[in-house]
């Protein structure tokens, strides 16, 4: 079937089987491999992308369902060479070791800060509770998100 989906403000049309999951459309058809593909069972959260601004696990959304929604992936965070404060925070506060969980973590963090610009550490931990870091670097991930909350776009680009 033909699927037209908007990813990072760009429309893509592809011919796919109805059973193709959003994560595989992104990675295999659109070659946006920033979104990782992990557990396949909606447990690990590395495949999280934003769908109309809300984090969703793209291994459990059909590509066909995503049509008509705005999808934002980790590739859509940086604008004109300037990192999103969340990406900058992960860099400065060492929010990753192996980096496998990172795309999902940063997208969930972006969505959290969009609706709650100054979350408590408990709220940050709650927001990422559906995501697994097997390096167990949660303390630095929380610090990275806190850094992003404390630094606006202007400060980062400055």
């Amino acid at each position: 079937m033909q699927v037209t989906v908007s990813v990072n403000d760009q429309e893509y049309t592809r011919e796919v089987e109805p059973r193709v999951l959003l994560v595989h459309l992104l990675r295999d058809e659109l070659h946006l491999t920033g979104t990782h593909w992990g557990c396949d069972t909606s447990n690990c959260g590395t495949c999280v992308v934003l769908m109309d601004g809300e984090p969703v696990k793209s291994c459990t959304v059909l590509a066909a369902t995503a049509a008509g929604h705005d999808i934002r992936t980790v590739e859509g965070l940086e604008v004109d060479g300037v990192l999103d404060p969340v990406q900058e925070g992960f860099t400065r506060e060492h929010g990753l070791q192996c980096g496998f969980c990172t795309p999902g973590m940063v997208m969930t963090a972006r969505a959290l800060l969009d609706c709650n610009p100054n979350p408590t550490d408990v709220e940050i931990r709650e927001a990422i509770s559906g995501q697994i870091c097997r390096c167990t670097g949660y303390a630095t991930i929380v610090r990275s998100i806190r850094w992003a909350a404390e630094h606006s776009n202007e400060e980062v680009s400055g």
Partner: protein, 291 residues
């Protein structure tokens, strides 16, 4: 890589359209709501429908929580996140808020729906116990129109409901009673896991006496509601001693299985403790604020 088996895909544009598609495609068609139960089942080949009818475009039409005079009406496509964040539910039916805090994880709650959860009818699923404890009514729409059934009729056993092949669940109606309170308690091993055991309770108090009580357990092989426990509540004065006795009855009535989440004996014990806690909290919430 786990992907569902092949199927043909159709998108419903309205409830009527979904019902037409069900008629046209026959019993090998399944409705796809939030997809967070059905798609994992399809990946494991535990479900292999020939057709999927995607209800995603109905998220607005069937996504609502409305308080009428004496009931709260919840659209079947209302997502877990909306249930968790609903002020109406937090103030009138806090059992939903209690349960939603511990259903799956925040990201899954952005997609999963109440209708999908109830129709999946997983024996460890929380909202079935929640709806049973508060005496919710299920509105099922089919070619012949609407029919309304209680949870005892709706639930036909694990993964089976009263919803026919050409029907769909469209609304959940929860009665509101003055002087009533409700609560949900769950023990799980980690975020996102199924319950080891869980208990929902509701009580309607009149002059300190329980006019009506609801008790429903999840994940421990119980009936839709714990009828012995409910009978023991009716007409009695609310007290900690009563709740302890009723919890003992609820625990005795269920039949949990030993698995990786614990032994049957342990689960039965937890079910009793959670029932008692849920009853005490429900009763505390039933008291008028100025009391």
């Amino acid at each position: 890589m786990q992907v569902p088996g092949p199927f043909e895909y159709a998108r419903a544009t309205s409830v009527e359209h979904a019902l037409e598609l069900l008629q046209e495609l026959g019993p090998e068609a399944r409705l796809l709501a939030g997809g967070h139960s059905l798609l994992p089942m399809m990946k494991l080949r535990l479900a292999a429908p020939d057709y999927l009818i995607d209800l995603d475009p109905l998220a607005e039409e069937l996504g609502y929580i409305r308080e009428d005079d004496d009931q709260v009406r919840i659209g079947a496509m209302t997502r877990h996140r909306a249930l968790l964040e609903s002020e109406t539910l937090a103030t009138r039916l806090a059992i939903f808020t209690d349960a939603e805090r511990v259903i799956a994880d925040p990201v899954v709650r952005n997609r999963g729906t109440i209708g999908g959860a109830l129709c999946q009818a997983d024996p460890s699923e929380d909202l079935s116990a929640v709806c049973a404890a508060v005496g919710a009514q299920m509105v099922i729409r089919g070619p012949a129109g609407d029919r309304v059934v209680g949870m005892r009729e709706f639930q036909r056993g694990p993964y089976r409901t009263a919803v026919g092949a050409d029907e769909m669940l469209v609304e959940i109606r929860v009665p509101l009673h003055e002087g009533s309170g409700s609560a949900y308690e769950k023990v799980d091993r980690r975020v996102g896991d199924w319950a080891v055991a869980a208990a929902g309770a509701s009580v309607k108090l009149t002059n300190g006496k329980i006019e009506r009580g609801g008790v429903a357990l999840a994940a421990v092989g119980s009936e839709v509601t714990s009828s012995g426990a409910e009978k023991a509540l009716a007409g009695q004065a609310a007290s900690d001693e009563l709740f302890a006795e009723v919890a003992r009855l609820a625990a005795a009535e269920c039949s949990p299985s030993t698995d990786q989440r614990g032994s049957a004996e342990y689960k039965r014990h937890v079910a009793g403790v959670l029932t008692e806690r849920a009853l005490r909290r429900a009763a505390a919430r039933a008291l008028p604020e100025d009391a």
